[in-house]
């Protein structure tokens, strides 16, 4: 396991007290795995991404550990994290389109990056840079340009090149495709796959609210709801046989090409997520869940129902337990 996050909790300081945006989240990524992290805005998905690389002053880790390649990340210690950024953990930020300063040429930004990380053999890295630019269809000319001279897709690709230049073990890609056109989206998605296949990044977490992009590029998907993990499974399982009611509703609300309003009326999920300032006890999806029952007043555990598939839902774990109780039935599940 190259990346292991255990019982991670992250809180934001606010004048009304701490707001726990990420609550006891655990997951692991194998080498070469791209995990999609999906959820609504405010679900804590970006907070997880940020916590793994940079806890800013408003945030604090209130519990849990993060291990990358067997080494624990000192996520609460900004100074100790500094040499690990870009080399162990790297981030493509959410607003990558505007992450490049307009006052420096791209080439200058890259030499700054190498300087601040005390890279010894700069020539080797720059040679590798040229190779990677060629790989994704950019010429060396971009190094002599300012960011505003590039199209959105080019800017996004340059940002990913920079984030992965020092071959990080874990890449956190936060909404990298959200602001792009469909054809550019596809190019950037395939670029992530290619970089993973070539080992430029060992594993990656792709954070987005767009499940259909994750269906293309991710190996597994984790669904977050109101600061907690709701479900984690391989992509095909999430898409075809999701178990958590929230995942089911989310999948059902997506329009596919060819679906029109006069043929099928899609439905959203009524209601909204609870406030995280004083979250209600028990399952946080309870108020919006069509299957809620008494037991949902207790917090459901995030349990593995079969290898690689974990769900936090009483309905699911109860029915699985019932099935598992009958001998000989387990295989059929």
């Amino acid at each position: 396991m190259s990346v292991r996050v255990e019982n991670l909790s992250v809180a934001y300081r606010s004048h009304r007290g701490d707001v726990t945006a990420v609550d006891d989240v655990s997951f692991a990524l194998a080498d070469g795995e791209i995990m999609g992290l999906a959820g609504e805005s405010g679900s804590g998905k970006s907070t997880i991404g940020n916590a793994l690389i940079y806890l800013d002053q408003r945030m604090k880790a209130t519990g849990g550990t993060v291990t990358v390649d067997g080494r624990e990340l000192p996520i609460s210690d900004d100074r100790a994290m500094r040499p690990l950024r870009m080399t162990e953990v790297s981030l493509v930020p959410q607003y990558a389109m505007s992450a490049l300063t307009p006052t420096r040429k791209i080439g200058k930004l890259i030499t700054d990056l190498l300087k601040s990380h005390h890279v010894k053999d700069r020539d080797a890295v720059l040679t590798e840079l040229r190779r990677r630019l060629a790989l994704i269809g950019l010429t060396e000319e971009v190094l002599g340009k300012y960011s505003f001279e590039l199209s959105g897709g080019m800017r996004q690709r340059v940002t990913i090149i920079m984030s992965t230049l020092l071959n990080p073990s874990l890449l956190i890609a936060d909404e990298v495709t959200s602001a792009l056109d469909v054809s550019t989206q596809r190019a950037v998605g395939e670029m992530l796959l290619e970089f993973r296949d070539r080992g430029y990044v060992k594993s990656a977490i792709a954070i987005t609210h767009d499940l259909s992009i994750l269906a293309q590029i991710a190996d597994s998907i984790a669904i977050m709801y109101a600061g907690r993990l709701a479900e984690r499974a391989p992509v095909a399982t999430i898409v075809n046989e999701p178990l958590h009611p929230y995942t089911q509703a989310l999948i059902a609300s997506l329009p596919e090409v060819g679906v029109r309003h006069d043929q099928v009326t899609l439905t959203g999920i009524p209601g909204r997520p609870p406030s995280l300032v004083n979250p209600p006890a028990g399952c946080r999806f309870r108020d919006r869940c069509p299957f809620a029952f008494d037991k949902c007043l207790e917090t459901p555990p995030f349990l593995q129902v079969r290898p690689g598939h974990s769900v936090a839902c009483w309905k699911v774990s109860d029915s699985r337990a019932a099935v598992a109780g009958r001998p000989g039935q387990e295989q059929a599940v």
Partner: protein, 342 residues
């Protein structure tokens, strides 16, 4: 009155953003009509001119040539009062809600301004009732959003506040420019269904998007734009069932779908300093688009050469006019036009 909005041969040139200068043709002789109660999707990539069409309709950009009429009247003729009445009927909601608010005021101010301009005689209680009804129809809880500053709200909340603002005005035409792209999946469909509901009440909607599945779900007719020109337009189901233009097909093939995977063919080894071979088809496609956009920024002649008549320089005129000339649209079947390849 069967047609509410009519675009007739509308062109728009912008100064290019590159250091080399020049002009970018954002729209090239675009013509279409929008009747009441219809949703038209404008689909295209960035630089295709879809947002410019919305801006022209909202009078945020003046067309370089051609006319836009609302109920038979040229919209460029409005001034002062006429313009205020025009905005009572035609409103826009934009892609980026963050830049639609003044950060030093509470978000309610957008409603107060609507009230001050258009409904000064409505009583406080009736007004707050209307605001609550509008917020309710976009699935917002008034207590959660009213009295807050923009930075205290999520993008989705801000966006829905702006749609509610347009609803308060009871507009006839809504320009919805990428309004869905910043919303969560679970509320996206609600906003789409809201648009369908409003359309059934007679609202005409210009739905601008790069997401073909969203455009397909909500619209009656579809216009595919590329480099400022219409390449395919007609009834939505005809275009999606039978896309004729190569560009439309390329766009459709790039749409991520839940149940089918892109064919990703791994790239071979790449030598250092190899000429920029974009090897995967999608990557090649993207960089081809980058280059085309750049190549089209070379129209450097005086605007008068195109539109000025007598003073036009003969050679310059033909060159620029050629660059502005959109591909010819031909009828493939009833209500389905396809452009010649460029």
């Amino acid at each position: 009155m069967s047609t509410l909005i009519k675009f007739d041969q509308v062109s728009k040139l912008y100064p290019a953003t590159s250091r080399a200068g020049g002009l970018t043709p954002a729209l090239r002789k675009v013509s279409f009509e929008l009747p009441p109660g219809e949703v038209i999707s404008l689909i295209g990539e960035s630089g295709s001119g879809k947002t410019t069409i919305g801006k022209v309709l909202l009078r945020l950009a003046r067309p370089t040539s051609g006319t836009v009429t609302f109920g038979g009247k040229d919209i460029t003729a409005y001034s002062q009062r006429g313009l205020r009445d025009y905005y009572r009927d035609v409103q826009g909601v934009f892609q980026d809600p963050f830049s639609s608010y003044n950060p030093i005021y509470r978000v309610d101010r957008v409603y107060d301004m609507v009230r001050g301009s258009y409904f000064p005689k409505v009583s406080d209680s009736e007004w707050s009732g209307r605001v609550e009804a509008a917020l309710d129809s976009v699935a917002l809880n008034p207590g959660d959003v009213l009295g807050k500053y923009p930075h205290q709200l999520s993008g989705g909340q801000q966006q829905r506040l702006l749609i509610a603002r347009a609803l308060l005005l009871e507009v006839k035409v809504l320009v919805a420019d990428e309004i869905i792209s910043m919303l969560d999946a679970s509320t996206r469909v609600d906003v789409l269904n809201l648009l369908v509901k409003l359309k059934r009440q007679g609202l005409a909607i210009l739905f601008i998007t790069h997401d073909l599945s969203l455009g397909n779900y909500v619209s009656d007719r579809t216009i595919i734009l590329r480099h400022g020109a219409i390449v395919e337009m007609g009834a939505t189901e005809k275009i999606f069932a039978n896309p004729r233009h190569e560009y439309t097909r390329m766009l459709l093939s790039a749409v991520p779908e839940l149940h089918s995977k892109w064919q990703h063919s791994p790239l071979g080894p790449v030598a250092v300093a190899a000429p920029a071979l974009a090897l995967a088809p999608a990557l090649a496609q993207a960089s081809m688009l980058d280059e085309l956009t750049h190549a089209e920024q070379v129209v450097k002649r005086d605007l008068r050469a195109v539109f000025g008549g007598a003073r036009a320089v003969a050679s310059g005129k033909s060159q620029v006019a050629l660059a502005l000339e959109p591909p010819q649209l031909r009828e493939y079947e009833p209500d389905h036009l396809v452009a010649d390849p460029e």
